[in-house]
Symmetry: C2
Subunit: 216 residues, 2 copies
Amino acid sequence: MRVQRQDIIDAAMALLDDGGVDGLTMRRLAAALRIQAPSLYWHFAGKQALLDAMADALLAEMVLPEEEMPWDGWLRAVATEFRRALKSRRDGARVFAGTFPALDNVLRISDRIIAKLRAAGADERLAVRTLFTVQYFVLGFTIEEQAATPPPGGHGHEEGEGVDLMQVAQRLTAEQAARYPNAAITVKLLASDDDDARFRFGLDRLIDGLKAVMPS
Amino acid sequence: MRVQRQDIIDAAMALLDDGGVDGLTMRRLAAALRIQAPSLYWHFAGKQALLDAMADALLAEMVLPEEEMPWDGWLRAVATEFRRALKSRRDGARVFAGTFPALDNVLRISDRIIAKLRAAGADERLAVRTLFTVQYFVLGFTIEEQAATPPPGGHGHEEGEGVDLMQVAQRLTAEQAARYPNAAITVKLLASDDDDARFRFGLDRLIDGLKAVMPS
DNA sequence: ACCTGAACACCGTTCAAGT
DNA sequence: ACCTGAACACCGTTCAAGT
């Protein structure tokens, strides 16, 4: 049986979990599929097209909340699901960032979000700005979250790819800690704070701020 | 005169403007400095250490607002300056994202922001969460902003690195536009909307939301 | 203290050719 | 319609050696 486009995406996603974006090469991907690297170029125009397809695939599993909810709770739920989708694969947020794939899942989900906001009374511009404001926050948050090495008991992550916050805190020179005491505290506090709670904090502030400009 | 650490950072920044992060290679950087690539490893442990130094250098020009302002206006001004600093070099936001450099400029500016928020009555955790929430929004926004090709009259950007939103809009198949009408409108509206106004919109919503949880 | 030459182990992509 | 072999033009990094 020959390799299909979807087989390539599946294998690429698996490889992402193994070695991160930096470990995802066309040659390794081909080897995993037991074909030669140039064969991939029959299915995808180039590596970027593959990454676009992967970004879109990340959203495939997103479950949208029920339609009956008020827009603010609904948007909060969608943002939470978006973060979950990005986190479902190693470096998922980095793969998604920068790509602007006009592919099916991205279009489908954008469409539903805009529809919801418009139904709640927002005009086109307000709906679009709201969508992207929330998206930027989630994306920025999740990129940093995934860049940090999970504390001790991770199950993959062999390489020193991630940033260990504890280690960063300890490597601050005495001079730096004396000169920038608040920054020194920040690193330590950040390392011990709960990611989910931090995410909720930011998202709730944002949605609170959005409520003030949404009609009704 | 031999090459100094700062010369390398300066040359790397110039190279960034020329060819973006993808065009920044140790070999090209060395050539620009008229030395051989391995020499760079005497000054920096590896490419990542250089990128960290570049991320820190991006913040060197940041001008912090006067201390007398109320915290909300002050924070808005700092966020605006942060975006400006990221945009001062091609792909600046991408360079900054993911790195967590405990270097002087990053520490200095974090320290001042936390100090300001604490002086306004926030406890440590609230101050840290506020700082990072705003940072995530600005970073996410600016990454996407820099990923988009500036409309027509750009002065650099030879390669097809950026995403042309107009082109994306036109490449949507009739089937896609029919199935996801709101998404189709979104792409067009996004291409014509003003980036500065979009940035202010998101930032103001965020700061509005933060006001509700800050004491005083 | 700073730099080079040579080498290692890779990359993404093209293209003619095969089935 | 899908895949291969061979090749091109690169990468980041190490390391012994030079000044």
